[in-house]
Symmetry: C2
Subunit: 525 residues, 2 copies
């Protein structure tokens, strides 16, 4: 597919910068077709000026227009055909079946948000009608609903070149809310980003929306992204990536003259608690399942289970042996890029150097970005004393922490930092016997699982893909599922307005079927 390597600024393109870069195929360590221009500050400025200008008209175009727009983006992405998947595979080393699924998820998310926007419940419409006779003071007519924040900066993620990149969950939810989006393409898949970006630009045109609704900027380093977050017209930030990257954006946003919210999802260690009875009964199956979860996508999922807590007994012994067999036998696979691979090896070196940590599985990989699974084992005392053991290893590795008993296991749970997920695997009876464990995990994680494995995040109304820092910079939201739209809105109240001047969604009649609260009571218009 033809790649131009330009910024996409509304309906136009620009390559004002002179620095260029290329994408690398991690399987071959070979450069790919296409030369991409680094965005310069004037291009960042242009993107946000267009976005701010588009915001009122985009929101006023209404919910049906936005729903159609989201569906059109999905159609335009599907129309790119397999060329998109091939480019994405070349840029990330991810296999085509995985990317086929990811495209389905991406388009599914866009269509899900179309439904969310059509339904309108996310507006949280509240109508309090006037009561001039109320004592001690008359009651005014006050109506509120959620409005779009304005231009949003979205950062593409390396590990989801489609579902959390240019047209991914952050973009879909921001557009659904009525926010124009300026995307910073991830530098490791600039070609995939350009293809999807042009599909969105085409959808903007198809739907007759203002051009500033979408722009795409390319850049390798941190400068373009920081420029975006610091831009006065930027109103919010969506990010999926590393703790260092997310924290840098958060700090930049908080230091602005006008601070803005940052929704950074920065991954976590996703602890699993394997209780003795379950482990004794199903240890072999759990070892096989865990190995699959650890190595899924070469361990490059935010929900990769990097910590496993168990009570030291015969069942745990057998489980660790089986897990070592599975992980030791797992095939080498290429990571997303050379930097992620070297960071993975560096982190394994750090952990292996901690006294009391036993390296049970670790093999050198052969391919240029290749990685092999690793297994480390330690005990609860070592784990508690060493902060490095609590931090994420991004890649196909996990650390088993053996505890003396269930009481110690419950105590170490209380030492966990914020998590995207926490999993308890046990019989119903034994889980009930560890007092406070579930409350502790709910206090530290965005999602608590009973059995199963944390990888695989279902996209639904109830999903929470979030959690306390350092899992995210804003635990009050989710980046997956329908509730993600709420991040990009704020409530506005309208007081004593005549019906004709109110937004349609706030009028007495209201669009048929719209859920709302009238004088405190839920019902449909």
């Amino acid at each position: 597919m033809d790649l131009q390597g330009t910024q996409l600024l509304g309906s136009g393109t620009s390559r004002a910068g002179t620095d260029t870069f290329t994408a690398i195929d991690p399987r071959e360590a070979a450069p790919l077709e296409g030369s991409f221009h680094e965005a310069i500050p004037a291009e960042v400025d242009r993107a946000f000026a267009l976005a701010a200008a588009a915001h009122p008209a985009f929101e006023l175009a209404g919910r049906e227009a936005r729903a159609r727009f989201l569906e059109t983006i999905a159609e335009r992405i599907e129309a790119l055909g397999d060329g998109l998947l091939q480019r994405a595979s070349a840029e990330t080393g991810l296999p085509l079946p995985r990317l086929t699924g990811e495209r389905g998820r991406t388009c599914g998310q866009l269509r899900m948000f179309a439904k969310v926007v059509r339904e309108g419940a996310y507006l949280d419409v509240r109508i309090e009608r006037a009561d001039p006779d109320r004592q001690p003071l008359p009651k005014p007519d006050v109506r509120s609903m959620r409005h779009a924040l304005g231009p949003v900066a979205v950062f593409g993620a390396s590990n989801f070149p489609l579902a959390f990149s240019v047209a991914g969950g952050d973009t879909a939810s921001a557009l659904a809310a009525g926010c124009p989006v300026v995307v910073k393409a991830h530098p490791n898949h600039p070609g995939t980003s350009e293809l999807v970006g042009r599909a969105i630009v085409a959808a903007v045109r198809d739907c007759g929306l203002p051009e500033g609704v979408f722009s795409l900027l390319q850049g390798r380093g941190h400068e373009v992204g920081l420029e975006m977050v610091r831009h006065p017209l930027c109103r919010a930030v969506g990010f999926t990536g590393s703790l260092a990257g997310g924290r840098a954006l958060f700090d930049a946003a908080a230091a602005r003259p006008v601070p803005i919210p940052v929704f950074a999802e920065m991954g976590s260690t996703n602890p699993m608690f394997l209780l003795p009875q379950k482990l004794a009964a199903e240890g072999a199956a759990l070892a096989e399942g865990l190995a699959g979860s650890v190595t899924l996508g070469v361990g490059q999922f935010c929900t990769n289970p990097g910590l496993v807590f168990a009570v030291r007994d015969a069942g745990a012994e057998t489980f660790v042996t089986k897990l070592a067999e599975h992980l030791g036998g797992a095939a080498e696979a290429p990571m997303l890029h050379a930097g992620i691979r070297s960071a993975y090896e560096r982190r394994l070196d750090e952990l292996a150097a901690v006294p009391g940590v036993e390296v049970r599985v670790r093999d050198g990989a052969v391919g240029p970005c290749g990685a092999k699974a690793a297994l480390l084992v330690t005990d609860a005392r070592n784990w508690t004393g060493q902060e490095t053991l609590r931090e994420e290893v991004f890649g196909p590795a996990t650390v088993v922490v053996l505890c003396d008993d269930l009481a110690e296991l419950a105590v170490v749970a209380g030492a966990l930092p914020g998590q995207l997920t926490a999993t308890v695997t046990g019989t119903e009876a034994e889980v009930a016997q560890v007092p406070g464990l579930l409350a502790t995990l709910a206090d530290r994680a965005g999602r608590v699982l009973f059995g199963g494995f944390p990888t695989g995040v279902d996209v639904s109304s109830a999903m929470v893909h979030g959690g306390p820092y350092p899992a995210t910079t804003d635990s009050r939201s989710t980046s997956v599922g329908t509730a993600a739209i709420e991040r990009f809105t704020r409530p506005v109240a309208w007081q004593s307005f005549p019906q004709a001047l109110l937004p349609e969604d706030l009028r007495d009649a209201g669009p048929a079927g719209l859920w709302r609260r009238v004088d405190g009571e839920f019902g449909q218009a």
Copy 2:
């Protein structure tokens, strides 16, 4: 009433610090009974350790227990009788009728949140049931609802010694959510704070809740507050006060190793747009009404209208003359304390020094903390060029900005920083004729009014008392009304749990009447 001047740390008291201070009656500039000890870091630490320890049990006590607790606080406050109001009046200079109303509002808020908690809709319960046959992947059982964030630091406000102080809106909404609260008493009404604080401590005991649910700390300077915001166990902050104060807390919270949200409501200029036809028809009444709104509570409301935009014509001329008569004739009244009064005079000096600003009304006051109303007039060009004219004057003053025509008025609206409120006063027809004005104001304010005056914030499900920075540090929330509870919660998902291990509110049966979404559809359990 007997005042002990101690910190209230759970069920205990402490006066470990040696620094003390007294309250001052602003009407007399005379010290009041009672010597209050500055909290020291060990006391801050103790308050948060108690709060963190209380959090799980407080949340697990359930919604009915929290509702009863809120009602008991209201009863305990009412049981303090008029002694509370007399102390509050002595400490703030606010008259007894105003404080009687404020006590009613305070207890009304507590009882409103009891209803909110009993109803449970704020939990936002979402249930997605498993579907093992779903393609391409089986659907897991996922259920989410909102959990309490944990210990919250609440700062008492000087201008609402009851309704936005120790048992005010922030405290009530945080307790309703299930968050223990550590209050920093405002140093200008420490006695009122102690009385209300002891009422809450008594309610904790009455209800058999863990003592750490509530603590109260006293302090004059910034140190105690910053210590609270920086405490590792603090999970969120509620504040009502100045821009400088709110920003300092926001910066401290953002700089923490684990950042926490700050809900600071920092006031605004609350612009009013008076359109020509309405002004011609009702200018005299509008002048009288505006003067009443500007001088209400000696201009010490967050929603005080400090900016008035009008088109320069005969109607505006008459209006300004009438407004000058009313403001010039308004009686002197004491401000909350000497610092606020001197800041008021200093801001008036700053504004009066701006070229092109005409001082139409300004008189010196006589009493120690006395203030008199002021009126300044300028034109749109001056206003646009001078940042100081866009910033709040805390006190009974307003600035009238005359525009050449409606087009210029719409343009200056676009130059406004974030606001709590914006008011458009015009006939329905003329408002409809200023294109984009309402969209511009909805983009800049938390509440847009059609006519009337912004002072007086009705406490209801639809109220939004918030808005873009610098009105608040988090525009995605409100500090007044039922939605204020959402600030202190975050969603948690539970995946594949057996019914018996789920929180009761997430079970299939659910508490009768609880609103929730099941497989995406709204309904009641």
